[in-house]
């Protein structure tokens, strides 16, 4: 199972500094193809920074990051190659407000993948159906609800046919009644075998899809385990405290 080409993401002693502040300290992590990781931890613990380093939204300042056999360096060519393989979904959706939903889904295909217009539209409609809002194709983002916008954002990332999907608190900006429609799409994606890293506090989601749940604090990976053990018997005191706090109500 653990053949070398089965490793999709490899972090070796990765550090990230913002001036004096050390956001990541010696983080090492290996993610296999098809694996689903849920990353949780208090705010400021470095979990967003960690996944943002994986597609180089942030540059790591020490250590090595290897994505599907390609190391992340300063070379723009490599960065763009990696970004084509790694989809990202943001907390604030970040749909292009001046483009229709369809255009949001086709623009990068056209520019980056050089897909012909007709094919790009077919791909876009395929993924819009998958997130269950094909009827919104000709609308503008502002006309959609938050949940719908986030589903479009997921579809937009999928249009690039990524090997890996990163989710940066995808449901944190949503009204409560819209969270499940987004999580449903993510569960569906997980069932399909996508390699996923999700920064989220949706513990129900973690239980049902995660292969491993990881807890971060102070820029370090403190604890990891399969969801059952992680939630039932956290070994670390900080993990236990964090879980008590988010699961209290």
């Amino acid at each position: 199972m653990n053949k070398p080409n089965d490793t999709m993401i490899q972090l070796i002693g990765v550090g990230k500094r913002f001036g004096q502040f050390e956001a990541l300290k010696q983080v090492s992590l290996e993610v296999r193809r098809g694996e689903k990781i849920v990353l949780c931890g208090p705010s400021g613990s470095g979990k967003s920074t960690l996944i943002r380093c994986i597609n180089r939204m942030e540059e790591h300042t020490s250590g090595r990051i290897i994505i599907d056999g390609r190391e992340l360096t300063d070379r723009t060519k490599d960065i763009n190659a990696v970004r084509r393989e790694v989809g990202m979904v943001f907390q604030s959706f970040n749909l292009f407000p001046h483009m229709t939903i369809l255009k949001n889904l086709t623009i990068a295909q056209r520019l980056v993948r050089k897909t012909p217009e007709k094919e790009a539209k077919e791909v876009a409609m395929h993924y819009l159906k998958r997130v269950k809002i094909p009827e919104q194709a000709s609308k503008y983002p502002v006309q959609l609800s938050g949940g719908q916008q986030q589903r479009v954002a997921i579809a937009r990332a999928l249009c690039m046919k990524p090997q890996i999907m990163l989710f940066d608190e995808p449901t944190s900006a949503l009204d409560p009644e819209m969270i499940s429609e987004v999580l449903d799409v993510m569960v569906d994606l997980a069932r399909d075998g996508m390699t996923m890293i999700c920064v989220t506090h949706e513990m129900g989601f973690a239980r049902s899809v995660a292969d491993r749940v990881m807890f971060m604090d102070g820029g370090q990976l403190i604890e990891e385990g399969d969801p059952e053990t992680f939630f039932a018997n956290p070994r670390n005191e900080r993990t236990a405290l964090f879980l008590r706090q988010i699961l209290r109500h």
């Binding site: 597609n55 939204m57 723009t76 763009n80 970004r83 084509r84 790694v86 989809g87 990202m88 943001f90 604030s92 970040n94 749909l95 292009f96 407000p97 001046h98 483009m99 229709t100 623009i107 990068a108 520019l111 980056v112 503008y140 502002v142 006309q143 954002a153 937009r156 990332a157 690039m160």
Partner: protein, 227 residues
Amino acid sequence: MNIGIVFDAIPRMLSGIVMTFQLLLLSLAIGTMIAVLLLLMRISGRWWLSWPAQFYTYVFRGTPILVQIFIVYYGLPQFEWIRESIFWPILRDPFGCAILALSLNTGAYLSEIFRGGVLAVERGLLEAGAALGMSATHRFIYITTPLAIRIALPAYGNEVISLMKSTALASTITLVDMTGIGRTIVAETFAPYQVFLSLAIVYVAITWIIQRSVKRLEVYLGRSTAR
């Protein structure tokens, strides 16, 4: 006070409107190009491009436009190499001088307006573009530019109005625009109050037209973000 002078003066001054619009539209077009160039220099991230652009903006915003017009019109012909250069046919002509001075001046202001627009584009959108693998150039063309234009448009409209009024200064270097004609009428009638009041009315009317046009353009461009 003879109100009849107003009714005589307005039609005569309107014959200068072509000159006013020529000055406005030409220097706006050239000024916009200068502004885009300055903007690209400033956001290039290279000091040897950014510094000259900043210096340019500083100088042209820091001096009165009237002084700039005089420097171009009276000052530049002092140099022999300018008189021998290919630009002499333009600089020999007061119209060319006015266009040059107005363009250089408005270019400095417009570049700052454009820069404000570019900086105001939400960072997350550019990140989303980057995460999709779009290159920096693609992000600038397809995300930054259209959004920055929408953001900068109201301020751009203000600058157009400001430039329109600055064209009146061209009358100081012999050009016969609306203000130039107004001054001629004053010399004939000795009725500065009525004539300049008429002139003011004409400028207000033009300002109103520009304002309305920019507003319509704003609504049109904002149609995707309005509910």
